[in-house]
Structures are given as structure tokens and as C-alpha cells.
Amino acid sequence: MNLKIFTPRGGVHPDSHKTESSETPIRHVPMPPRLIIPLIQGSQGSARTIVTVGDKVLKGQCIGEAEGADGTSIHAPTSGTVTEIGRYPMAHPSGLSSQSIVIEPDGENHWITYEPLDPTTANRDELILRIQASGIVGMGGAVFPSHLKARSKINTLVINGAECEPWMTGDDRLMRERAANIVSGAAVLAHLTGAQQTLIGIEDNKPEAIAATRTAVDDMEPVARECLGTGKMTVIVVPTRYPTGERKQLIHVLTGIEIPPSDRVTKFGIQCFNVATAHAVCRALLHGEPMVSRIVTVTGNVKRPGNYETPLGMPIADLLAFCGVKPNTTHVLMGGPMMGFTLPNLDAPVTKGCNCLIAASKELFPPPPSEQPCIRCGECVDACPVNLQPFELYWASRAKNFDGAKYHRLFDCMECGCCAYVCPAHIPLVDYFRYASSEIRARDEEQKAADQARMRFEFRSSRLEREKAEKSARLAARATETRTKSAADAALIAAAAERVNEQAQIEPSLQDNAAPLYDQQT
């Protein structure tokens, strides 16, 4: 009963390391002494503080209001007191800091009064507003505001349960334990986007998740069934392969449509949400719970690997300590080993995009062997999911031939890391690509700045020129004016003089008054 699936090119099959964390149920973590909630959770969607220091807040109470149409709200992850509003480091490769609200939990964990919204009766705008006001963002790691995606009108809704990165099992556990919520959330999203077809793609290395989700689809809650209407929802098993969990890759596998890197998925009538996002939508609408926590896979060099329902804002160090991070841990990765990054600072809090933390040791993640010259073996070409020739990009980037890198479509590269993973010469290819693209961006910026400066200069000189021209025109005009005036005056004077003369003949004394009159006029 499986639909036909498609096989995109490239991809790799790294050791999955899933069972380390996938075999224990999702656990709760104790509330840390303080929570740090950044107002910005990802690259898009910011919020404005609506609390002040000293305020008492309830769990789920909005503490940051969505800023503008793209913004997403943030909520207190537990009840307590706002103790500080200030800049704190974020979980980001650059270690940059962001304005954050600090909450000291009161240990009560008191929820606000839930206000569910019935998707079958509420109107569409109301539902989308609620998604925004519940602070829902893409939970696969991209953190894109979900209400913006839910607004699109499409035919096919893809729910991403592929979870292809090694070590990561949060979605797997979520599907096993809370498939009904995922299915309801997916049905609501289908309702909002008008999708007639909902495809839930799950990799074949998660048989329990597949079974649970299939059961949930078969025994869908009545409200979900109503949302779905005439639409169909199908669970599709896809082969395990990295990076099938990347949305365009998954769309290709499920629908056979290969979306060019530069195109939006909606152009093809498709939209894609992660299973965890669908789950969050269900909680927000059907239960009235805004996003206050997320499931984080903590694995690798820890004593108790597993999946943890973590309050947003919990310092990563606290979470790791709770999981028993071992002393020989060298560094901690956020995200999977293929695309994740090394955390520069463990004081950073868990945010909505924090899907996985991997404690790394020398044994689990040995440093890559030293880089050798490229032998053009073509392994990287075979592995690239978007049909690039990574070694050509490498030669171009290395030679700082950025036009060459662009010619070889550097900007189609999604930095999935497949090429570097297979390269027998152990070349950190993705580093070269990141370097080249940042150089090109910097160069383009410079170019833009230079263009602007030139434009400003040209504008200024043309303005000066125009002003000069206007000025001389004015001067000329005035000169002619003066000339004509003088001519007119002269005529007047002549006439007057004549009259005077005439008068002088009668009254000569008046002639002396004529000269001062003339002087005044010039």
C-alpha cells in the first residue's frame, strides 16, 4: 500500500547511531534555577518584550509579542518571576548574543488558562494568528515562522518525519509516543493550506514510528478528520539516506518533483512541515498550549542519552549536566554531525531550533585525518544530492576564483556535507564553500556599497551640476531681467526725462530730482 517513491541522486549512508538515544521514552528534566529566553529564536521572526523586571508570569503567558507580520511570540516556559532583561549569548556558531528575558521559576509550573481554538469553526485568519501568537516555528532546526508557511495555498502537504541526520532521534520518539497529535496537527495544516494530499514521509529505519503514525492516521481524532475533509493523508516509508530529511530532497522522494535550489516549494504547490511542528500546531490550537518546550536529543558522550522534553531557555550546560556528560568530552555539537556546529558557549540556552546536542569525545568524533591533494576521483560528485561537482568548486574556491565558483553553481550548494564525508583525500570541502560564499557575499556587499557610493557621488555631482546650471540660468534670467528692466527703466527714464524736459521748459527746478530717482532704481 505504499505509493511509488523516487530516488534522488547522491546522498550518503553514515552510521546511524540512533539506538543510543531512541530506545528510552521522552523524559522530563528538572526546572533549572533560571531560564534565559532570547527574543529572537532564529534568523527570522522577532518579538518585543511586554514584561518588565519583577513581573510574575505564568507558564505559557506571552512575554514577547510578535513584532510585525513576520514576528513570532515567545512565552514563559514556566511560572516564576522576570528577574532580568539583557543580552545573553545564543546557541549560534558565532556565539553572538541577543536580548533575552530571564525568568526565575517559582517551582509551581502554573499554566495559564488554556484557550483552545476549534479549527473546524474558527476562521482561517484567526487560526493563522493563533499559530503566530503561540510562537510556532519550524522545529526541524530551520526555525522559520510557521504562520507564514501556513498561509500558502497548496495541493500537497508534506510532513517530514525522515530525520536523516545520524544520532538524532527526537522526531522518532515523538512519532512513537505522540503520533495522534502529529496527525491532528497535520490535518489542521492541511485544512489551512487547502492541501488535498498530505504525505507523511518516514525513513525505513524507524519501524515503530511508522507503525504508530499509521495507526494514528487510521484512528484519526474526529476533529482532525473533519479538518481533513475530502483530503487524504498517507504515511510513506522512504529509504534511509542522508539528506532525505532536507525538505526539497524529501519532496523529491515523495512526489518525484525536483525543485530547483533557487525556487520556492510553494511554486510547485507543495509545503513542508516537520513532524514536531505539526505536533506543536496541534498543542497550540486544539489544547491552547503555546510553545514553551521542545524535545532535545541529548546523546554521544553522556551517561543517560535520550530525548528530553526541555523548557525553552534552559541553559545547555544544565541540560548536559542532567544527562551526565562525561568528563572526557571535548566539545558539544548542536544539530546532527553532518550539518550541526560546535557550540562556542554552553551557557547558551535551549531555543526552539535546538533539536539535538551531541557530546563529542576523541573516540566518538576523531579529528579528521589531514587534508591531502584532490585526486579528482569524483566520489564527491557521486555523493552530491544537488548534482554539483564539488571538486570543481573546491579548485575554484581554493584559487579564489569566485567567478569560477559561481559558474559551478556554488549557491546551489546546501552545505549538506556529503561531499566532504566521502572525500578520500579528507578535504574539508564545505569549509572551502563557506569561505567562498562568504567572500562572494562580502565582495557583493562591497560592490553594492561602492555602487551606492558611486550613485551618491553621481547624484551629488549631478545635483551640483543641476544647481550650478539652475544658478547660472537664474543669473542669466536675472541679468536679462535686469537688462530688460534697465531697458524699460531707461525708456521710462527717457520718457520721464522727456516729460521733465518738457516740464523743465515749464518748471526747470524739477529736473534735479530726476537723477536721484534713477540711482535708486538701479
Partner: protein, 332 residues
């Protein structure tokens, strides 16, 4: 540390070792048919290649061990030894290796950057410089190792009975003297399909080549292109004038055809990039090889054909870029 944080257990060393292993069946057949002389030349080539590589790396102030241990110099050395006559004097082998390693590889910036196939460059240099020595091959009947060793170590030459002409040479000379292909083939230089003895070596190379294909070390597009190129030319000419043109089978089993198909045109550094480009490259080598064999003055045209196509690689690459994702034909 940056992503990806994990690597597949693969290395250049492993790739090169696999290639060396794949050469073993051919070498075994060589020893079986023509004696152990080839082993001596393989050793000479290996030692001189490593020495030359070390010297150049030292001069270029590059890390010695990483590159020396990657095995690429040994692959080049073995190929050079296998394409030179196995009874060539030691200094000819050394000279060939030096041309390959220093001239063709390092003068262009080292591995990965050389436009010309090093082994083929060595062959061309040697055949131009020492045409006589390059045409003395061991005959199947003279497999006496002591004599071979004597020849390799620089003994006097011209001993009849031990050296013989190759199948391609005999065919050329025969045709030149207005012979007919079928009559020429009755000479005892020939075996079942090609040169006597050489057919077995070719079969050994095929075994190794299939192994490389199975291990995905080489893509199928290269050997296929080469065999198609040569096969089409040979078949058409053979069908038109069988008395003047030998069959495709003869071409496949003679000279270095199979070595070239699986180990020479497949050099990743000097062939084209895309699968289509690779096919075109190898097709060109196959066609040009046949043309040189049929009408040229050199016994085997593979080396010249490869170098000619090496020159064309930048143009082939320009003409055959990979399609961007989402714009390929396999889209529904």
C-alpha cells in the same frame, strides 16, 4: 570544528592500494607467459618513483610522508613498467618513471593538477627517444629469466629468439608488405585472438578492471567509451575490408588495449569531469588509437591518443556541464 563532523573511512591510500591489487591478475599472467623479468622492472620502477617523488617533495618543501604514503607514485610506477617492454634496460625504466613523476606530474603542480597522463607521457618520450629499444619485446618462447635479467641489467642486445615483435608490429609490417590479414594471423606471433601470450595478460587486466568497477573505484563510462570508440572503428573497417583491417577482437586483445581501458583512460586526474564528458573523452581515445594503429607509424597509438584527448579535456568539460538540480530530464 566545522561540519561535517564525521567522515567515511576512505583514503587516497585505500583507493591506490585497490588499483594496485587490481593490477595483480594482469601481472600474474605476464609472469606466467613471459617470465619474471617484468617483476624486476616493477621493482626498479617502484624504487625510482618513490625516490623521485621524495626528491621533488623535498625540493618543493612539501610534507613528505602524507604524499609518499598515498600510493599514487607506486601506481604510476607500475603502469610505466607495464607499458615499457619487460626486457627494457633498467635505465630506460628509470628514465620513463622520471618523465612521469617529475616531468608530467610535479612540473604541473603535483597530483591532481597535471593535464597529461604521466604514464602515457613517459611512453611517448621513450618511444621518440629510443624507438629501437621500445620495439624489443620478449617472445613467448624465450622465457629464460637469467637472459631477461641480463638484458634488463644492461647486457648486449640483439639476441634473436628471445626478443620478438608484438602482434601489432607484425600486423603492421605484414600489411605493409601487402599481406592479407588472414595470412598474417597464421604467424606464430598470434594466439587465439591477439598476440600470443598477450591475450592472457589482457584477460588479467579485464579481471582487475571488473574488480575496480565493482568497487566503484572507476566509473563504467571510461572503459565503455574507449572500447566503443575502438570497437566501432574496427568493426566498420573490418566489415568493409576484412583483408586489410583486423577484427575488433584482435584490437581488444592486442597491445595495451585492456590496460588502457581499465587503468589508463580511467586516470581521474587527466580525464573529463562529468559522466558524459568522460565517455566522450574515452571514445576519442579509442577512435584515435585505432586510427594510429591503422594508418600511423607507431606500433601502438594509445599513448598519443590519450595525450591528444588530454589536451581536449578543458573543452569537453566546458561542453558537458552537469545539469543543475531540478532541470534534469528525469523529472516527471
Amino acid at each position: 570544528m566545522t561540519s561535517p563532523h564525521i567522515r567515511q573511512p576512505a583514503s587516497v591510500q585505500r583507493v591506490m592500494t585497490t588499483v594496485l591489487v587490481a593490477l595483480l591478475p594482469g601481472i600474474a599472467a605476464y609472469v606466467w607467459q613471459f617470465g619474471a623479468g617484468i617483476l624486476v622492472n616493477l621493482v626498479i620502477a617502484t624504487v625510482s618513483a618513490l625516490a623521485a617523488e621524495a626528491l621533488v617533495l623535498r625540493l618543493r618543501k612539501r610534507p613528505l610522508w602524507v604524499t609518499l604514503s598515498d600510493g599514487s607514485a607506486i601506481v604510476t610506477a607500475w603502469l610505466v613498467a607495464l607499458i615499457l617492454p619487460s626486457i627494457a634496460p633498467w635505465w630506460l625504466t628509470v628514465a620513463g618513471v622520471l618523465v612521469a613523476i617529475i616531468g608530467a606530474k610535479h612540473l604541473y603542480g603535483g597530483i591532481g593538477q597535471n593535464p597529461f597522463n604521466p604514464a602515457m607521457a613517459a611512453y611517448c618520450a621513450m618511444i621518440v627517444a629510443y624507438p629501437a629499444l621500445m620495439s624489443q619485446w620478449p617472445s613467448v618462447d624465450g622465457v629464460d629469466f637469467a637472459t631477461q635479467l641480463h638484458l634488463i641489467l644492461g647486457g648486449s642486445r640483439g639476441i634473436d629468439g628471445i626478443t620478438g615483435a608484438t602482434a601489432l608490429d607484425t600486423m603492421r609490417t605484414g600489411l605493409h608488405n601487402l599481406g592479407n590479414v588472414q595470412d598474417i594471423l597464421t604467424s606464430n606471433t598470434f594466439g587465439y585472438a591477439g598476440g600470443r601470450g598477450w591475450e592472457w595478460i589482457a584477460a588479467g587486466y579485464v579481471v582487475g578492471g571488473v574488480f575496480l568497477l565493482a568497487r566503484r573505484i572507476i566509473p563504467w563510462s571510461l572503459p565503455l567509451g574507449f572500447i566503443v570508440g575502438m570497437g566501432v572503428m574496427a568493426s566498420v573497417s573490418y566489415l568493409i575490408a576484412p583483408e586489410s583491417f583486423p577484427s575488433p577482437l584482435f584490437h581488444f586483445a592486442s597491445g595495451g588495449t585492456m590496460l588502457a581501458a581499465f587503468f589508463i583512460v580511467t586516470d581521474p586526474v587527466t580525464c573529463a569531469s562529468s559522466p558524459l564528458g568522460k565517455f566522450i573523452f574515452a571514445l576519442g581515445v579509442g577512435i584515435i588509437t585505432w586510427v594510429i594503429r591503422a594508418f600511423g607509424v607507431y606500433p601502438d597509438g594509445i599513448a598519443f591518443a590519450v595525450l591528444l584527448m588530454n589536451i581536449c579535456v578543458p573543452f569537453i568539460n566546458r561542453a558537458t556541464p552537469l545539469a543543475p538540480a531540478g532541470q534534469r530530464k528525469d523529472r516527471p
